[in-house]
């Protein structure tokens, strides 16, 4: 680990060379979670291995529960968080799928855990590489989902995610792309421990199992007369997350000097054509935008951070002036349009009555690399009006 402390304009920060996984582990260390329940799976494993070493070296006090499956990981997370502990976990792919049942319970019980996901393709066929199929499969589970583009963002959005969770009592998934982010070493600016600690604060829930003076029953049976209202309450609270997220991002800017929004807009203001994307491929797309701009093309990019709750209104507004849009999904929704495309169509439908051509592209399944030439081809299609209702594939 290359380690150097800089002091620029009174802001002290460390610059480290970290993989996305190690950056996540470093963020987790600084959050000082009480409990981590976790099960190994590629490409998540670097997170827990790094964290386990920190524990072995006495750098964290966290109780690590080495469970026998991801189903039990999420179940133990529910137990620990309900008991009153700041609780975290991490997983990928099949592991996230195995947790599926309990994700809904964690969210329904309003338990604000943080989970890092190094996203990966789902079987069959077996594939261990990056893709968003796993996170997309749990997009309706009631967890907040925040996507990151690189190791720095994975580190930062973990902090924002934890604080958002504990503030709103909704669990949060911080997503990084398996391998492309989780296993790539990058320059990461790391907060001072004290600053990180101050930013996340203490976790002090109002109601928790270990408060023996005030016994609570968690996980009730709600029948036809009450279940519906529970779900409406969950939805009502969820809709407030956007604003909390914005507030916490601005607090984080004060702490770190780095600024986050619901999404990153890149050269969209005067753009005629734009790509909308999630995750690490945004970096590649940004390069292409610069290149095409140099050639005089009016192109731009929208990279979404907050995917759940989806900021329809803001995204719609941001894109309303664009003439042609390509939405790039790194996931397949077999038999339907892919997830991000569907959200963008919805956003625009409600934002403007003007006809905007929106094309759907699926790329990078099973970890297949996406190159600048692939992105250039998308912009070329847009320019030439090669837009139909048919989904296209960047193979």
């Amino acid at each position: 680990m290359i380690h150097k402390t800089y002091s620029i304009q009174n802001t002290k920060y460390n610059i480290l060379a970290l993989t996305g996984g190690a950056a996540a582990a470093e963020a987790l260390r600084q959050m000082e979670p009480d409990v981590m329940a976790v099960y190994p799976i590629t490409p998540q494993t670097p997170i827990i291995e790094t964290f386990a070493k920190m524990k072995a070296d006495g750098k964290v006090e966290t109780e690590i529960i080495q469970v026998e499956s991801e189903h039990s990981a999420m179940s133990a997370v529910v137990g620990a968080q309900a008991a009153g502990a700041r609780t975290v976990t991490a997983t990928s792919s099949q592991g996230l799928a195995l947790m599926h049942e309990i994700l809904y319970i964690a969210a329904g019980l309003r338990l604000p855990s943080l989970m890092y996901v190094s996203s990966r393709a789902l079987s069959a066929p077996l594939n261990i590489h990056g893709e968003h199929g796993d996170v997309m499969a749990v997009r309706d589970s009631g967890w907040v989902q925040i996507f990151s583009e690189n190791a720095q963002q994975a580190y930062d959005l973990g902090f924002i995610g934890l604080k958002l969770a504990e503030k709103t009592r909704y669990p949060v998934i911080a997503v990084m792309d398996g391998f492309h982010t989780s296993h790539t070493t990058e320059r990461v600016e790391v907060l001072e421990d004290a600053d990180a600690k101050e930013f996340v604060g203490e976790y002090s829930p109002e109601k928790y199992l270990l408060n023996l003076e005030d016994p609570i029953s968690l996980g009730a049976l709600a029948l036809q007369n009450t279940y519906f209202e529970f779900k409406l309450d969950q939805e009502k609270g969820f809709s407030k997350i956007k604003n909390e997220y914005k507030k916490i991002c601005s607090e984080f800017r004060k702490t770190s000097g780095r600024s986050y929004k619901l999404f990153d807009s890149y050269k969209l203001d005067d753009a005629k054509e734009a790509i909308v994307i999630l995750g690490s491929t945004a970096g590649t797309a940004r390069e292409v935008v610069d290149k095409l701009r140099d050639e005089g093309r009016k192109v731009g990019l929208l990279s979404i951070h907050l995917f759940r709750p989806f900021p329809y209104k803001e995204v719609g507004k941001e894109l309303a002036h664009i003439k042609k849009i390509a939405v790039l999904d790194r996931a397949m929704s077999v038999g339907a349009y892919p997830p991000l495309y569907t959200e963008i169509v919805n956003s625009i439908y409600h934002a403007t009555s003007r006809k905007i051509d929106i094309a759907s592209y699926i790329y990078g399944l099973g970890g297949r690399d996406t190159f600048q030439k692939d992105i250039e081809k998308v912009f070329k299609d847009l320019e030439e009006g090669e837009i139909s209702e048919k989904i296209k594939y960047l193979k």
Partner: protein, 301 residues
């Protein structure tokens, strides 16, 4: 109702008339004066005690899902450990899980195994009514050989369950658990003693308690104690404990009643008394005898 009895699990729950589960819960939780936290697998106990907006629980209680009560308590235990260490809480509670046989023998076995292997400090109590009673009486890994259930019913070509039940005690014992015991709702004094012992031991402990189900075993609601008693007197359900690997028999009948005395009390075994099913009863008797012999030999080891 006796106030002491309802200190932790109140009256007003909605278990069936003649159900022994509340007696099991109250006896186990009554065995300690320390504070307790309860985790519960989905099942009869859970659905009859927590219908929103009511709860019968006067102690902290969590129900997560069907198969993960042991993993859930693992989380609670880890949280308790670290929060005590950090001084965020002061008092330590005893942690107790209740699960039925479906949630323990079958769907929850992996989660139980993991929690036992990791050595969390908790007591797991399985109330064994030999089937999925909350969903109407389907077969489980605990359903006895020859019993008719909704999913393996007796019929022209079937005498009911064709396989022997799992020996869960041996499975749990194989984890090197310090203390585990088999008990029966019909002998609450014995259950209380065992719960007390289990709760005093640090680390995972396990109780397997027979709970005759009036609805699915099909006997009159006034009879659960006597049906359980016959389970003991016929040696269908011997009472024993395994402490540091050492077996102790607390109750077997040296002059056991024939197994028919137990079987004949219940509708689920009615078909076994047809002449063509005589061999099934003989098989059950053989298994019961062999099991007692096995236990007696274990005690001698």
């Amino acid at each position: 109702m006796n106030k002491k009895l309802t200190e932790k699990l109140a009256s007003g729950h909605s278990t069936c008339a003649g159900c022994g589960i509340p007696a099991i819960v109250r006896t186990v939780l009554g065995a300690t004066d320390e504070p307790v936290i309860v985790a519960n697998a989905t099942g009869c106990l859970e659905v009859t005690t927590t219908i929103y907006p009511y709860t019968a629980w006067k102690v902290p209680y969590i129900h997560n899902a069907f198969e993960n009560a042991a993993a859930t308590i693992s989380g609670v235990e880890a949280a308790q450990k670290i929060l005590l260490k950090k001084g965020k809480i002061q008092k330590k509670a005893k942690l107790v899980v209740f699960g039925g046989d479906g949630g323990t023998y079958d769907i929850g076995l992996q989660s139980l195994s993991g929690a036992l292997e990791r050595g969390h400090d908790f007591l797991y109590v399985c109330y064994d009514n030999g089937g999925y009673m909350n969903t109407g009486g389907q077969r489980s890994g605990a359903t006895p050989y020859g019993a008719s259930t909704e999913t393996e019913p007796a019929g022209e070509q079937s005498f009911g369950k064709a396989k022997q039940r799992k020996d869960l005690m041996e499975i749990v014992a194989a984890h090197g658990v310090k203390y585990l015991a088999q008990a029966c709702v019909s002998n609450l004094r014995d259950l209380e003693k065992k719960a007390k012992k289990a709760l005093e031991i640090e680390g995972p402990t396990f109780l397997l308690v027979l709970q005759p189900c009036t609805q699915v075993w099909k006997f009159p609601t006034s009879q659960y104690v006597s049906v359980g008693k016959l389970a003991m007197e016929t040696n269908f359900w011997p009472l024993y404990e395994i402490e540091d690997g050492k077996y102790t028999i607390n109750y077997t009948n040296p002059n056991p009643k024939p197994i028919e005395r137990f079987l004949e009390t219940q509708g689920r075994f009615k078909h076994l008394f047809k002449p063509e099913n005589k061999h099934v009863i003989e098989e059950i008797q053989k298994t019961v005898d062999a099991n007692v012999e096995r236990l007696v030999n274990k005690v001698k080891e």
